[in-house]
């Protein structure tokens, strides 16, 4: 690994082609997963518009996000006036059940006290029957990445609504930043094991909508406010991902909060990608329900094992570069380890400082992996040039590296801006793993076929 040292010595102060986006984007995605919710970004018009564009290009769905549209005057005198106007206008146009407010670097730096401002709005408008619920999250973009915004928003929502009554049979599920198709899979699994899940957020339909012939102001679906209230009375919380929003000492996850304040037991493990991680997930479900995993899933597992065997020779020993959000790459590595793909670089734009340790402790990879957090795409490109991987596994933003180096890219995660179906990619469970395995194996097979002097017809 001599080469890597050289690269390290040429570190750049700037971020070059970021492998992350900013916190309010994560907040917006979560708010889109709440029923009847309109996200409202408290800052300049550009924040909302850029985030909309970024999300629309991935989900291929309408993503309406309102803005308080700061002007120079707002920046000097504070954002209260604009926030009031914005809440009124959003209410008038959308009649939402809830307005999910996210702050920005701008509103944070000028020091808008959101709690006070929102309280004043509520007091001024007391008795207004159209008044939606108003929640907010602090998402200064100079702290953390979109993933921090994502998990902090879930925490804010749970804190705002959760109450403890008699413990129910429901189970909270905090799946993390997965695709709408993944969330759909999870709902199916919970239905099959007869658990009533409270999934936060649930954008399985909202960000992968059916055609109705209407531009839906508030597309159907999402976690309801009632469900958010009931998170405090759930039997347990399942939380996928090890790092979540833990980038600073203060941070707490929604499941941790519910455990500490309401005594809801927290079950935390890896995002279930691959057989091992999915087994762990189903074994937890068995414990929670006291019933065996339904045959549907043991069968899926069996078919997946069968597929692993069929394809093992095409993937074994191949070198992969994996990048994306921290919890996502951890889960991917766990999967790649079990099919014999060697990860030569695991990179994330996340900067929790925990990535290396978590991978060593929880995944225990067979060989040493170069693990880099706070990494950008130009750094990934430099390492790729040295390590010559066989495949890149990650979102579409790495395509330019793949193209330049003639390495294939298996598109997974977020964002997928250059293909259809980003919202339909399945990653989790036996079913999602099956899709991932086929994608990765076929990508490698295609590369081999294309580089072969013979246009062979059989594998």
């Amino acid at each position: 690994m001599e080469t890597l040292k050289e690269i390290k010595s040429k570190e750049f102060t700037s971020t070059r082609n970021a492998c992350k986006v900013c916190t309010p984007l994560g907040a917006s995605v979560v708010y889109k997963g709440i029923e009847g919710c309109v996200p409202l970004i408290h800052g300049s018009q550009g924040c909302a518009t850029y985030i909309r564009r970024y999300l629309i290009s991935h989900y291929k769905e309408p993503v309406d996000i309102a803005s308080t549209n700061f002007t120079e005057e707002t920046a000097i005198f504070g954002g209260e006036k604009n926030l009031f106007i914005a809440i009124k206008n959003v209410t008038k146009q959308y009649n939402p059940k809830i307005i999910g407010i996210a702050t920005t670097c701008l509103s944070e730096v000028i020091g808008d006290d959101m709690r006070k401002i929102i309280h004043r709005y509520k007091t001024e408008n007391e008795g207004d029957t159209n008044l939606p619920e108003l929640v907010f999250v602090n998402t200064p973009s100079f702290m953390g990445t979109h993933i921090n915004g994502f998990h902090d928003t879930i925490l804010s929502l749970v804190k705002a609504f959760a109450t403890h009554k008699k413990t129910t049979q429901s189970v909270n599920i905090f799946p993390g930043f997965l695709s709408p198709a993944d969330l759909q899979l999870l709902k199916e699994i919970f239905a099959d094991v007869a658990i009533n899940p409270i999934m936060v957020p649930d954008y399985s339909d909202i960000l992968d909508n059916e055609y109705t012939g209407e531009y839906e102001k508030l597309p159907k679906g999402g976690t309801t406010i009632k469900e958010l209230q009931e998170t405090g009375s759930a039997k347990a919380s399942i939380e996928f991902g090890y790092i979540l929003n833990k980038s600073n000492a203060k941070s707490q996850t929604a499941a941790e909060f519910l455990e500490a304040d309401f005594g809801v037991p927290r079950i935390n493990f890896n995002i279930p990608i691959g057989i091992n991680a999915t087994d762990a997930f189903f074994s937890e479900l068995e414990k929670l329900t006291n019933t065996k995993t339904p045959e549907k899933y043991t069968k899926q597992r069996g078919k997946l094992v069968d597929a692993y065997v069929d394809g093992h020779k095409y993937v074994f020993g191949k070198k992969a570069v994996v990048y994306g959000e921290e919890d996502f790459v951890i889960a991917m590595i766990s999967f790649l380890e079990e099919i014999g793909i060697e990860t030569v670089l695991c990179a994330s734009g996340g900067d929790s400082g925990l990535l290396k340790n978590v991978i060593q402790e929880k995944i225990k990879p067979r060989k040493t992996i170069n693990i880099h957090d706070n990494f950008d795409f130009e750094e990934i490109a430099t390492v790729c040039k040295e390590l010559k991987p066989d495949i890149l596994i990650g979102n579409s933003k790495g395509y330019y590296i793949a193209r330049e180096l003639g390495i294939p890219l298996a598109r997974v995660g977020f964002p997928i801006h250059d293909r259809l179906g980003g919202s339909r990619i399945k990653h989790i469970g036996y079913e999602g793993t099956q899709q991932l395995f086929d994608t990765i194996a076929n990508t490698l097979i295609q590369q081999m076929q294309e580089n072969s002097p013979v246009g062979y017809k059989y594998m």
């Binding site: 750049f12 102060t13 700037s14 971020t15 070059r16 082609n17 970021a18 992350k20 986006v21 900013c22 309010p24 800052g43 300049s44 018009q45 550009g46 924040c47 909302a48 518009t49 850029y50 985030i51 909309r52 564009r53 970024y54 629309i56 290009s57 291929k60 309408p62 309406d64 996000i65 309102a66 803005s67 308080t68 549209n69 700061f70 002007t71 120079e72 707002t74 920046a75 604009n82 106007i85 914005a86 809440i87 206008n89 146009q93 959308y94 920005t104 670097c105 730096v109 000028i110 973009s141 100079f142 702290m143 990445t145 909508n209 055609y211 109705t212 012939g213 531009y215 933003k397 330019y400």
Partner: protein, 444 residues
């Protein structure tokens, strides 16, 4: 019109029904889901295509990440513009200032990428934390010998349109900094074309065929040294007037270069853009060549368009784009292929633009400034439009309503300018209006 916010009602009008003047040039209403972006965005999109310059965004990561390779602005040479550089400032810089980070970042990047110049975009919070960006830029210019230009673009300081002005101010720092003051005969600068899908290559070819010398293309396929010499051109031809007419005005004031507004969309406007230049130079040879060129192109194109015109006759289109001048051309181009415009609007049009638009439109056509998704949905439904022409953010509106869609914004991969572009445009409209998939969206 329940879904048009009260404070926005003057920004919508129906020709032949409403008597008010269309209100425009306003800051977006808080809480309205405007399709506009911010001052930073305006400056970034205009300067972005300068391919041999370094573009460093000074601020938290979002602004740079969301504008990474955002425009399909092609370069025939260097590609530095397609990289996204950010100082990625964190809490530490917010508290203690970001000047040191900026300086270090700049020096390293200039060293590594050897740009001809560097633009530093100062975003929302940079102003607030009190960074003296200007003096950092000056000092780095001194140390590296590469001119570093500040682009004062805090997002809140106006609208996207103010960002255009900021970009033009930054460009003025380059213009005139190289070469003598001697005017090159029969020469032009092409201003306001961003070389999306290589459109500039077509234009360059047309003008060169006429014997016109092109000094600088600003900013499509742009080069720093060309822009430095742009003051030597005899004429500025300006497209996308919203974004860059300000540069032409400043150049006229400072260097007495006259300017001409043009558009390259549609046969009529494209031909006018060529004839206009020949007429300006009062050059018979040039005019003859232009006539010949137009004749060849049009006689080749018209029969091809006939097919599309027949097929598309009676179709109705809604237009909502960034710049008003483009909207105006689109009305004409659509007419040429038998499509009627029923809604037309822009993010940044001014009074004059909307007046032109109104005069050009049929009775009953709706004009709109700075609309939002819910409003646009209403307008499109009310007018029974078949096709929507817009950008990425308008696409889901069209698709959710079962309408065809044509991307006439940054992401287009097919040249839509020029004669070749007119044919592509007809194909695009045909391909979306005639797709059999829409059989499933009707009569649900």
């Amino acid at each position: 019109m329940e879904s048009i916010l009260k404070d926005r009602q003057n920004q919508v009008l129906t020709k032949g029904i409403d008597s008010h003047e269309l209100s425009c040039d306003k800051s977006s209403l808080a809480g309205s889901v405007s399709q506009r972006a911010c001052v930073f965005c305006g400056s970034r999109v205009v300067l972005y295509p300068i391919a041999d310059a370094l573009h460093l965004v000074h601020g938290p990561i979002g602004c740079a990440a969301y504008t990474w390779d955002i425009r399909g602005a092609l370069s025939s040479g260097p590609q530095i513009h397609r990289l996204s550089f950010s100082t990625d400032i964190k809490e530490e810089q917010v508290v203690f200032g970001g000047e040191k980070t900026l300086k270090k970042a700049l020096i390293e990047l200039i060293d590594a990428y050897n740009p001809k110049a560097a633009f530093v975009y100062s975003t929302c919070i940079v102003d607030l934390i009190g960074d003296d960006v200007e003096s950092v830029c000056k000092s780095v210019t001194k140390t590296t010998g590469v001119e570093v230009i500040t682009v004062q673009a805090p997002g809140f300081a106006g609208t996207k349109k103010d960002g255009y002005k900021v970009a033009c101010d930054a460009l003025m720092k380059l213009v005139g900094s190289k070469g003598t003051n001697e005017t090159i005969p029969n020469s032009i600068n092409i201003i306001g074309d961003f070389n999306l899908a290589g459109e500039l290559y077509l234009l360059r070819d047309y003008y060169e065929k006429m014997g016109v010398h092109i000094v600088a293309t600003i900013t499509g396929d742009g080069r720093v040294d060309d822009i430095r010499q742009a003051h030597k051109a005899a004429l500025n031809i300006v497209q996308c007037s919203g974004s860059m007419s300000n540069l032409a005005v400043q150049m006229e004031k400072k260097y007495q270069i006259p300017n001409m507004r043009v558009s390259y969309f549609g046969i009529e406007d494209m031909s006018d853009a060529l004839y206009g230049v020949a007429r300006f130079f009062d050059n018979k040879d040039m005019m003859d060549k232009a006539i010949e060129l137009v004749k060849t192109e049009v006689s080749d194109l018209l029969p091809k368009l006939e097919f599309y015109k027949k097929a598309l006759k009676g179709k109705k289109a809604a237009i909502y784009v960034g710049g008003a001048f483009k909207a105006i051309s689109l009305i004409k181009a659509l007419r040429m292929i038998g499509v009627k415009t029923v809604v037309v609007g822009s993010q940044t049009g001014n009074k004059e633009d909307y007046l032109t638009m109104k005069n050009l439109s049929d009775e009953g056509t709706i004009l709109v400034d700075d609309t939002n998704p819910l409003e646009l949905t209403q307008l499109v439904k009310r007018t029974n439009a078949d096709i929507l022409i817009g950008g990425v953010k308008e696409r889901p509106i069209a698709y959710k309503l079962g309408l065809g869609f044509c991307d006439h914004n940054h992401e287009r991969k097919l040249a839509l300018a020029g004669y070749e572009g007119m044919l592509n445009f007809a194909k695009e409209i045909y391909g979306t209006a005639m797709s059999p998939v829409f059989q499933f969206t009707k009569n649900k």
